[in-house]
């Protein structure tokens, strides 16, 4: 019975893994990506619109968040906000953490919009707000979609860190099964395969999107 691989155990753990995948991993990835994408854009624009000292403070906070491990941030938030659901904490922490990366991507995208575009918005007396929303951001996004997609995949693969704050995501579900049945190999392997099966097609999708965006003006 104690071979390296047991198909019965594999079939037994699979539904539990898939359930955790849908209920936690996928939800965290989607919601945190949404938070990171919106907050990141907000940070990038804010940093370019406020006076230099305030921008420096925003940059410092961003650097601070990026330079500390996400596990530390998860645990810190978990022990600080004991009354909040761990899943909610996970979603918010992932969202904020990755928003600092995405802000950098947006900044590069915004910088890549030619200066003449800004000048045209001035020559047409467009408001700053309208210039951002109608001209600059749409052009900046084209350059940033691939990088943003890659960060989303990266976040997806970081979700097992949630087990440190007791969220039963896919790996935690696998470990629990392993502990109960003394079969870890199948659970961990299958979790890895599910990650691969989800992220590989997504990365292909992103590179296709990248190609389409490049020629579609």
């Amino acid at each position: 019975m104690n071979g390296l691989w047991d198909w019965d155990a594999a079939w037994a753990v699979l539904p539990e893994l898939l359930l955790a995948f849908v209920q936690v991993t996928l939800i965290v990835t989607v919601l945190s990506t949404a938070i990171a994408a919106v907050l990141g854009l907000f940070i990038a624009i804010l940093r370019m619109s406020v006076p230099k000292p305030i921008a420096a403070v925003i940059t410092f906070i961003g650097d601070f968040i990026r330079m500390t491990p996400i596990v530390v941030q998860l645990l810190f938030a978990y022990w600080t906000f004991l009354t909040i659901e761990p899943l909610t904490i996970g979603i918010v922490v992932f969202g904020i953490h990755y928003s600092t990366y995405m802000a950098e991507v947006y900044r590069a995208g915004i910088d890549s919009v030619p200066k003449g575009q800004w000048e045209a918005t001035t020559a047409l007396s467009m408001s700053k707000r309208r210039a951002w929303t109608a001209v600059i951001v749409p052009q900046a996004l084209r350059a940033t979609v691939p990088a943003l997609g890659n960060y989303a995949i990266s976040m997806f693969k970081d979700t097992p860190f949630l087990l440190t704050i007791g969220v039963v995501e896919m790996v935690r579900a696998g470990l629990t099964f392993g502990g109960n049945n003394f079969r870890y190999m199948e659970a961990i392997t299958l979790a890895g395969v599910i990650f691969l099966l989800a992220s590989y097609p997504t990365s292909l999708l992103i590179s296709r999107l990248e190609k389409r965006l490049a020629y579609n003006y």
């Binding site: 575009q117 000048e119 007396s125 467009m126 749409p138 003006y217």
Partner: protein, 281 residues
């Protein structure tokens, strides 16, 4: 100080017709230590078509960019229809005007750029109606109707739904002209609008501008290397060198009998003929 620094007195006493469309007063522009314009004074009357000529680096384009508020003034004042544009003299002090006040004036000024600067994420039509709808508050239908007329007048009636990058350079520049005109500007700034175009399509763009000059009373301030165009369209030519106006004359005088030796040398260089004349066609 001259009383002309109080624009409201000039505008309010019934002599509005005499108020110049553009007036530079002691304008200075520096980029770091590099002084591009120094103590510059000149006026452009309403309806005037003034061409600025001179060697590159002489500050011509900077003048247009200052009027469009794309560059900030280092010192001095610019008045549009007698109203201070970016700075005003208040209680003996030079103070910056509010963004809101600047915007009100800016709305009356249009600019066409050397590099077109169309918005590539919008269609041709969207480019043209963007500002009329969102800045002037026109309805979409109204702005579209006008845009279609303008596209017709620049010879691109079928291109409303095309994207700018699907068009040739000459077509893009014609759209840019239509976009500027859609704002019904009192003042139109043309910054080397044919310099980025292939020689064989320069003519089509200049023809459209010539037509606009003939059929409207828009004040035009033009920077160009096309001396024939300068001669056809403008009623005044100003020769710049080293950030100063070295000579100012009607095109006929300027191109046939320039007085200043810098002008003579410049025209000789750009026209490539022995006597600095250009032919009349």
């Amino acid at each position: 100080m001259p009383t002309t620094t109080d624009p409201h007195a000039a505008a309010g006493d019934g002599t509005a017709a005499a108020v110049p469309a553009i007036r530079f007063e002691n304008v200075e522009k520096r980029f770091g230590d590099n002084v591009v314009l120094k103590d510059l004074n000149f006026e452009v009357a309403k309806g005037d078509r003034v061409t600025l000529i001179g060697p590159s680096g002489s500050g011509k384009t900077t003048i247009l960019r200052l009027v469009m508020t794309l560059e900030s003034l280092s010192d001095g004042y610019i008045y549009i229809d007698g109203e201070p544009l970016t700075h005003e003299l208040r209680d003996g002090k030079r103070v910056a005007r509010s963004e809101k006040a600047q915007k009100q004036i800016r709305k009356r000024i249009g600019m066409v750029f050397q590099q077109f600067n169309l918005f590539p994420n919008m269609t041709v039509l969207e480019n043209i109606i963007e500002a009329p709808v969102h800045v002037l508050g026109q309805s979409k239908a109204e702005a579209t109707k006008r845009a279609m007329e303008l596209l017709e007048s620049v010879g691109l009636p079928g291109k409303a739904n095309a994207h700018p990058l699907q068009l040739s350079g000459g077509q893009q520049q014609r759209v840019a002209i239509a976009r500027a005109l859609a704002m019904d500007p009192d003042i139109l700034l043309l910054d080397e609008v044919t310099s980025a175009l292939d020689p064989e399509i320069v003519g089509e763009v200049l023809g459209i501008l010539r037509h606009i000059a003939e059929t409207t009373d828009i004040t035009m301030l033009i920077v160009t290397h096309e001396m024939q165009f300068a001669r056809d369209v403008s009623n005044r030519v100003m020769m710049f060198d080293g950030g100063r106006v070295v000579e100012e004359a009607t095109p006929d005088v300027m191109f046939t009998n320039p007085q200043h030796e810098r002008t003579q040398a410049f025209l000789h260089a750009v026209l490539g003929s022995g006597d600095g004349h250009i032919g009349t066609h």
